[in-house]
Amino acid sequence: MSNGFLSATLLRRQHAGRLRPVLSNLAGLAFGITVSSAILIAAGVPADALIDEFLVATFLTSDGLAQTVTAAGPLILVGLASAIAMRIRFWNIGVEGQMWAGAIAATFVAIHQVGPEATRLPLGLVLAFAGGALWIWPMLVMKVRFGINEVITTLLSGNLAFLLVQHLLFGVWRDPASSFPISIEFPPASQFAMLGWGQVHTGIILCLAVAVVAWLLMEFSTLGYFATAIGFSRKVAAETGLPVRRITTALVLASGGLAGLAGGLVLSGTQHRLSQTLSGGYLFSAIVAAYLARSNPLGVVVTAVALAAVYTASDVLKVFYSVSEAVIVLVQGVVLMSILVAQFFTQFSIHLPDRPKQRGR
């Protein structure tokens, strides 16, 4: 059959095996990193500086490592948020919006000093989680009840959340002492304690704990088992009697909640106030972290740390080589695309056209 670009025949693999996906992903990752490096070099960053910044500075210096660890915290949480939604094939693209929602909740608790000081921080975090879950909930309903594509709805909700933050920052929550649109600083009761190493704060422990809990749930609990089945085949899951609706709702709300928690974490741990930046474009980071880790919570920790390194490195690049932080987004896009393309080798096999031997009659 000679139509199409490939005159060879493309067949879908019945089963991918264990080694092949790992190799393909690594190959895709390597390709993506190579292309990204090429782009950065073309943007004016010397090659040795690249290695220096991305590997040495971020992991082998105390300051760099501290910065990486600090940045990894929220990345772990949003990566988990993305991953658990991805498990049941719900594309939560509105992670940033849920972060904002969580940040708003955390700010509210902090600057209105809700509750006794001892419970102030936990309360802020719990409400941040609730805020994120609340923000994703309408989009879940729209998807489940009306079949509306969640990619667009969750993303647009992100825009709405940001505008709400703007509204609050220029309005009731504006710090009168500052000319910038920022809130007042959080009182110490709403801040994470510092660990004495760079900017690292106790929040990182929370992130790791959440990751471990998520992993335990996914691997060893009935919930995780059901979620995996639903992700593979919703139809079979429904017909074998799995509580599909309940699990979907639980996981999607948890996804929004984790993103909200991440927002609260960034504010309580690093920024200590609500402002217009939430340190970095988390939208794509979440997806890349989750996809690279194949939705495995422990894997997400690893990929989140790797991404955090990229963030740290790009901060330096920004200062010394005036490379915009948009380069992070570019790198993430390139890496994601490379890995997506690499899946081809896992899912399909190419067969050269067979020529039948003509035997004369």
Binding site: S221, T222, Y225, Q358
Partner: protein, 502 residues
């Protein structure tokens, strides 16, 4: 009967084809003369469709030769075959449902024969339709057409593309008896007008009246090549095909018992007007529902399984109402389902045998309320099932996608035929399985019923129905058209019910 022409319309010789190591055709041969209707017969998996797919360029043979009208030519694509005048009308139509008939034809013709616009296509359709006596309206949307009408669109399409050899793949499988004989008479007319027609079928009885010669295939080989129909001894052909329909004279129930399933007035969308479906099923019996696919069987199964809400009526399982109950509740009360497509509805292909086996149990709470997943217990249960059901080459940790069709179906059976089984809904349980697996499946169902379960068997395979049922019903247009004890069943009765004449 057609006289032998110097150049056969189509000739295949010494064809070999294997799929991933498994041979599908071994030294297959076939010869077709102009002006004849030639039946290519054999059971499922005999290689009939594969051979014709090789002839029309869908598959590339591993070895062999082909000649079209005497000229050696092995088409490497369906387009090439079509250009050489060879075309196949498949079982699964390749039509765009949202388009009209004219748009579909225009898509296929794409300028050939002067079809440059929809108006051209419509005109050509009307001309051809009148010429060959097949009525079809070019302006109708395919979505609104019946299966028989869609088949006519496919036929007109291939004829307009210039096909002189027309191959029909199981054309009567989805038609009522009246539609089928109409099609077969059309095939005769086509052959008489100078074409050559091949009918791929496993129902020799049905086509024999309109056929000139017969070729029989079994296990990828040609066991009887081009014998004139008149010279055929039915018993011998049956032997060659292995398994023609045998209606048993009586089948006693070994453990007759209480009414386990009662369906009354069940209504779902798409039914013909009238009353709903009513069925009473007792312990220890199998009720086989025969009928051509597309007559509401899927919907009936879905209503019983709990994935489709009926428009009206009641379903009682062992005396308790389950009409609106969830699948989990139905399962808990003793309902089990074997769906027609095991990987679309029954098993998660990417999960292991153990995970699939335990799924329904865990969902129903059989493994307790603890959130922890008891993998050890799951593996033990799986190991036991693998032994009991003789699932070959499998360990509990093996993903079901790696299993053969027969073994995967056994996994499904192991799960469904468990201790809590009261009523089994089996939808085409041995479809696509080889002979040994089919026997196993039927044996397992028989054994379960003999122990006191009840089974509602829904299948397009009449042989399967007759092999297992104590009572036979026929479904047509979403309704039960008639029920009889097995010893009162005759082919005329079944045929009449299928076409709605009784």
């Amino acid at each position: 009967m057609a006289a032998a022409e110097p150049s056969p319309a189509l000739e295949l010789h010494g064809v070999f084809k294997a799929f991933g190591g498994k041979p599908a055709l071994e030294d297959a041969r076939f010869s077709l003369a102009w002006g004849e209707v030639h039946a290519l017969v054999g059971e499922n998996g005999a290689g009939k469709s594969t051979l014709m797919n090789v002839a029309t360029g869908v598959y590339a043979a591993d070895a062999g030769s082909q000649a079209i009208d005497g000229v050696a030519h092995l088409p490497s694509s369906p387009q090439e075959a079509s250009a050489a005048g060879l075309a196949m009308v498949h079982q699964h139509f390749r039509l765009v449902e949202r388009f009209t008939v004219a748009e579909n034809v225009l898509l296929a013709l794409d300028g050939k024969g002067g079809a440059r616009s929809i108006g051209d296509a419509a005109r050509l359709i009307r001309e051809k339709s009148a010429e060959i006596g097949l009525a079809i309206d070019p302006a109708r949307v395919v979505e609104s057409l019946s299966t028989a009408e869609r088949q006519r669109v496919e036929i007109i399409k291939v004829l307009l593309l210039g096909a002189r050899v027309v191959i029909f793949d199981e054309p009567t499988a989805v038609l009522t008896e009246a539609e089928a004989s109409s099609l077969l008479r059309f095939a005769r007319r086509l052959a008489d007008s100078g074409h050559a027609v091949v009918l791929i079928t496993h129902k020799l009885k049905e086509v024999s009246r309109h056929t000139d010669r017969v070729t029989v295939m079994r296990h990828g080989r040609t066991v009887l090549a081009g014998a004139p129909i008149a010279s055929l001894d039915e018993a011998e052909v049956g032997r060659l095909i292995v398994g023609e329909t045998v209606i048993p004279t009586a089948r006693p129930r070994t453990a007759p018992g209480a009414r386990l399933l009662e369906i009354a007035g069940l209504a779902f969308p798409g039914q013909m007007p009238g009353e709903g479906i009513g069925i009473v099923l007792k312990a220890g019996e199998v009720l086989g529902i025969a009928g051509v696919g597309g007559n509401g069987q899927e919907d009936l199964v879905a209503c019983l399984a709990g994935s489709l809400k009926p428009l009206g009526g009641d379903i009682l399982l062992d005396g308790r109402d389950i009409t609106m109950a969830s699948p989990v509740t139905r399962r808990r009360r003793g309902l089990r389902v074997i769906p027609a497509d095991r990987f679309a509805s029954g098993l998660v292909r990417q999960m292991t045998i153990a995970e699939n086996l335990a799924m329904t149990g865990i969902a129903a709470g059989a493994y307790g309320r603890s959130p922890r997943l008891d993998r050890r217990r799951m593996e033990k249960a799986a190991a036991a099932a693998i032994a009991d059901f003789d699932i070959r080459g499998a360990a509990p940790a093996r993903r079901t996608e790696l299993l053969s069709g027969g073994n995967a179906q056994k996994v499904l059976l192991a799960r469904e035929l468990d201790a809590g089984l009261k009523v089994l809904i089996a939808h085409s349980p041995s479809r696509g399985l080889d002979v040994r697996a089919t026997e196993f499946v039927r044996g397992a169902i028989r054994a379960a019923v003999e122990k006191g379960a009840a089974c509602l068997l829904i299948s397009e395979d009449l042989q399967e129905i007759l092999a297992l049922s104590h009572r036979v019903a026929v479904m047509n247009g979403g309704r039960i058209a008639g029920i009889r004890e097995i010893d009162a069943v005759t082919s005329e009765w079944i045929g009449g019910l299928l076409t709605g004449h009784v």
